[in-house]
Amino acid sequence: METVIPNELVWLIFLLPLLSFAVISLILRPFFSNKPRLSGYISISAIFGSFILSIWALTSILSAPSHELAIPDFNWLVIDSAITIHLGLIMDSLTAVMLIVVTLVSLMIQMYSQGYMQGDPSYHRYYAYMSLFTASMLGLVMVDNLLIMFVFWELVGLCSYLLIGFWFHRPAAANAAKKAFIVTRIGDFGFLAAILLLLSKTGTLDIAQLHSLAIAGTLAGTVLTLAAIGIFLGAVGKSAQFPLHVWLPDAMEGPTPVSALIHAATMVAAGVFLVARMFPLFEHSEVALLTVAIIGGLTAIFAATMGLVMTDIKRVLAYSTISQLGYMMLGLGVGGIAIGIFHLFNHAFFKALLFLGAGSVSHATGTFDMRQMGGLRKVMPWTYATFLIASLSIAGIWPLAGFWSKDEILLSSINNQPILFYLAMVTVFMTAFYMFRVVFLTFGGQYRGDNSGSHSARPHESPSVMIMPMVVLAVLAVGSGWLNVTGGFSQFLGGGETRGFFEGLFHGFTHTLPGLPIPLAWISLILAGLGILLAYAIYSARWLSAERITRLFAPLHMLFSRKYWFDELYEHIIARIVLLKGLFAGLKFFDSRGIDGAVNGIARTTVATGRVIRKAQTGQLQLYGMFIILGVVAIILAMYLSG
């Protein structure tokens, strides 16, 4: 369709799921609570509508002159000339890519969760929150004003809180939800501070104007760096980067489709999207760009190490997500928007698939603990196949999507950040190792689970409604990488040269770089292969026994499995001892004893003095007479003395 998408329909993209949220929560939940499946259909049809509209938007943006659609906007908060905040939409290439990712993945996962959430009492509530989440995620991606983006940013955080704590009767889930919201809120603190700084210095929060100011250089120096760091702090919070990563592994308490959608593909990528959206600000301040790259690289390897030792399949995937997000940040830091977003694009598909695979495995065996799985290869062929494709893709094996985007990141990081390059290479090896550790533990060997579990006697393949979305995602996990083989994808996002299809196919293998013996692609392939081999050796072929290795590296193993004691540091030391027991308890004591004490003290002293003075009233008149006379004498004396 060459006709450009009309403006109203663009608004509809994020209004459709919002509508479905309203319909489900206001009409279905109170009145049609006995027919659960209805909410599933409404939510899926809404997201399907948005998906179609996003494709239409993509085509119209592709044909638009500067990949830009102008959409009229409404003013949201105008206090005459002092402050004007408009609610408008940016429809550029970045938005188009993100729209596709969010709508497609959300569609797949909502279909999948029809099977997964079968028979859950609060089915309506689940789909209500899902559509609200998708609506706010789409809103976040399309909006053109930084403050309105912050609005959607917090709404997305709220939905993640609601969905993590979906099974609120489980204390662990409630705790994880609270932790997630508060940790992301610490990040939002930085984001809001940056917004305030930008408004006070530039007077506007319109993203396009901010870009032009940054490019023109009027917005520069420490102000720009501070604002960029503030925005990055928000991204760190939301994308669970190094200091604020503790909430994501706990967020696995939520239902698996939620983890797939929110904590793998979309919400956590919002941080990367934010940095990409405000890239001109980052570009013009080296300090900010450097921090992005460093934090990204550091988180990549840091999370990967923890991923090696986890026994819960979802925890491993969670750490792998944090590690991959670190890659994206590194890509943004060193390479630019195209490279970072390309990895986000691919990662969304195969990571969602991995989570759905984990979901269907747990659906069959009733547990997430890999030690009780094994030998599911024969019983669950489809899940095994899709899971294997996704693992190959994430490990970065040649024809699959993961290879292309990871390779680009390594390529761009080699010339300006050599240290991070070597860290990234180590992470490639680790990623391959922990992914295939999961594959071999769950699908290889014999079934170690005890059949007495509540689940049916033997683990069985998941129903087709769950398998079909996984297959679609598997196809995407393979194909999404090829979009950039000819350099078309990064060219679409601005920058990067294009080259022929086949020539691009083998570009990495032929093109040698200074300082490297053989072309980069070969090195990363070899490292990935080594990782897979090691995993095979330990967990499938049993050449090396896992126990001896853990004893050999006991201190390291302890360090990784205790998650570098960050949880203890944050929750126990900072939150409980320093703040709650220390500072706040002191303040409460001061409040209840200090101020209240003073007030009650005054009351008590007045009563006490009253009791003392009362003793003077002996009831004997003559005593009073004497006082009178003494009074008279004193007065006369005073008169005479004072002359």
Partner: protein
């Protein structure tokens, strides 16, 4: 030295102080009453002295004294009535024992 106003005033002050002492220290209500009468007489002396020395013609002091005597009489009667009532109800008029109005 001839009789001056001060003589009378000193005399009345003396009488007043003695009456005062009596009123404030005696435990027997009747003696208190008598001391009060003394104090009243002291004031009468002063009044008449003022009238004699300062306004000899107008005699205002003496008029005042007359009324003071009237009041003194009234006071004596009521005082004694109260004493009789207290005596009848409490068998004693010892002021140290009549101290209900206390903390």
């Amino acid at each position: 030295m001839s009789l001056g106003l001060e003589h009378y005033l000193v005399l009345s002050a003396a009488l007043f102080s003695i009456g005062l002492y009596g009123a404030l220290t005696k435990r027997s209500a009747v003696v208190i009453l008598m001391s009060i009468e003394l104090m009243l007489n002291a004031t009468n002396i002063a009044l008449v002295a003022f009238s004699r020395y300062i306004v000899p013609v107008l005699l205002t002091g003496q008029v005042f004294t007359i009324f003071s005597i009237v009041v003194a009489a009234a006071e004596a009667t009521v005082g004694l009535a109260i004493i009789m009532a207290i005596y009848r109800s409490r068998e004693t008029i010892d002021t140290t024992k009549i101290d209900l109005m206390k903390w």
